[in-house]
Amino acid sequence: MSKLLSAKSKQVLLGPLSKNNPIMVQVLGICSALAVTAKLEPALVMGLSVTIIVALSNVIISLLRNTIPNRIRIIVQLVVVAALVTVVSEFLKAFAYDVSVQLSVYIGLIITNCILMGRLEAFAMGNKPWESFLDGIGNGIGYAWILAAVAFVRELLGSGTLLNYRIIPQSFYDAGYVNNGMMMMPPMALILVACLIWIHRAANKDLQEK
């Protein structure tokens, strides 16, 4: 086990969860963070799908890294990602039809997620398959937990539910409590992400620019 997770591997796996988070520090993948976080459930499935796809495409690109012609490397990366996304989407349609209906266009939009291209170009092109796999898992989870955190706040305050179960009791509404419609609007996701970045930077002084 110690060989599987050396100090470097651990850094590769755990770094993206906080100090090197794709959303909070690299500010990648913001577009989908706005689109799928109005409810918690699609956010979780999206996070899981991105984690699987970024890990697998990292491994594939890493295996091919010495054969890929430099001039078309972005195209090769794009083809690998697009093929994987299509395969995942087909499997969802066959074995988890309800989930695929719920996510509708978002699964296809994983192709355009900047985190994927970013990790392939910055990491998988220059590292061994195992490290690339860990890097993919780390970044995927780093992305997923931010999505889950934002969706948690938006669904709770915007709809009064979590995973479609009512959390805020009816008596609150009877007493005049109103759901915050602003939370349903995409800009609120941006503001919440900004708040997360603020807290994160306040807690990690080394991230602050001089």
Binding site: P42, T86, F91, Y97, V105
Partner: protein
């Protein structure tokens, strides 16, 4: 090996494209049957949902066979052109609605709920981002709504997507699509708080104005093409009025 040569790049790209195409074709081919079955089962669940029958955790196939023993295809004049149940089920309403009215083949599902006949019509329209569709069931008088079901491809979660909730769909129950003169006027979807003149109406979704309007237009156009069929009311139904 020199990976920067033109010939290498071209061969690499060609091989990659062929390999990926084969892989995708293979996956699609293997999963096709299961996906089609899923789509058909989902359609049956949607139709049952328009009868207010929940299929959660139940055998939707068996329920469908139990409640919907018959389905027919009619033309715009309301004449039956086929009573083949499977053929009616497989009608693609989106395709039919792109044809001129005279050439359309429209499915009607005849359900039996607690001994009463219900007529289920197919709906298809456009929301804000993509298509919306659904099913609406009528009582024997072909006027009073028994239940409805709406679904969308890509409306905004929390806003337009709320048309897919039972909360919105249940608003339609017991609304009438004909006015006092027995003419088809559809059911309006209006902004909450507003009213519609001369016809029944339900409250639209706050923040989902365009999708709500899409439902309004969908009801008018989709039910409208069945107008002649809905005009043929059996005597029993008329006397109940």
């Amino acid at each position: 090996m020199n990976t920067n040569k033109n010939s290498y790049t071209i061969i690499y790209a060609a091989v990659m494209v062929v390999v990926v195409a084969l892989l995708l074709a293979l996956v699609s081919g293997i999963l096709k049957e299961k996906q089609t079955a899923n789509v058909e089962l989902d359609k049956k669940k949607q139709i049952l949902s328009s009868l207010n029958i929940s299929t959660a955790g139940q055998d939707a196939e068996a329920l469908y066979n139990q409640y919907i023993p018959k389905a027919i295809i009619i033309n715009y004049r309301g004449e039956v052109i086929s009573d083949d149940r499977d053929k009616a089920f497989n009608v693609d309403i989106a395709k039919e609605m792109s044809k001129p009215l005279e050439k359309r083949e429209l499915p009607v599902y005849l359900a039996t709920v607690e001994g009463q006949t219900k007529y289920i019509l197919s709906l298809r329209g456009a929301g804000l981002w993509g298509p919306i569709w659904g099913y609406i069931s009528f009582n024997e008088d072909k006027n009073t709504v028994f239940g409805s079901y709406f679904m969308h491809a890509s409306e905004t979660p929390g806003l337009g997507a709320e048309i897919a909730t039972k909360h919105f769909q249940n608003e339609f129950i017991n609304k009438k699509i004909k006015n006092a003169e027995n003419k088809f006027v559809s059911i309006a979807v209006v902004k909450p708080g507003q009213q519609a003149e001369g016809k029944d109406y339900v409250d639209g979704i706050s923040g989902g104005t365009i999708t709500s309007h899409g439902v309004d237009v969908m009801l008018m156009k989709s039910i409208g093409q069945y107008e002649n069929f809905l005009g043929q009311v059996t005597d029993g139904g008329m006397q109940n009025e």
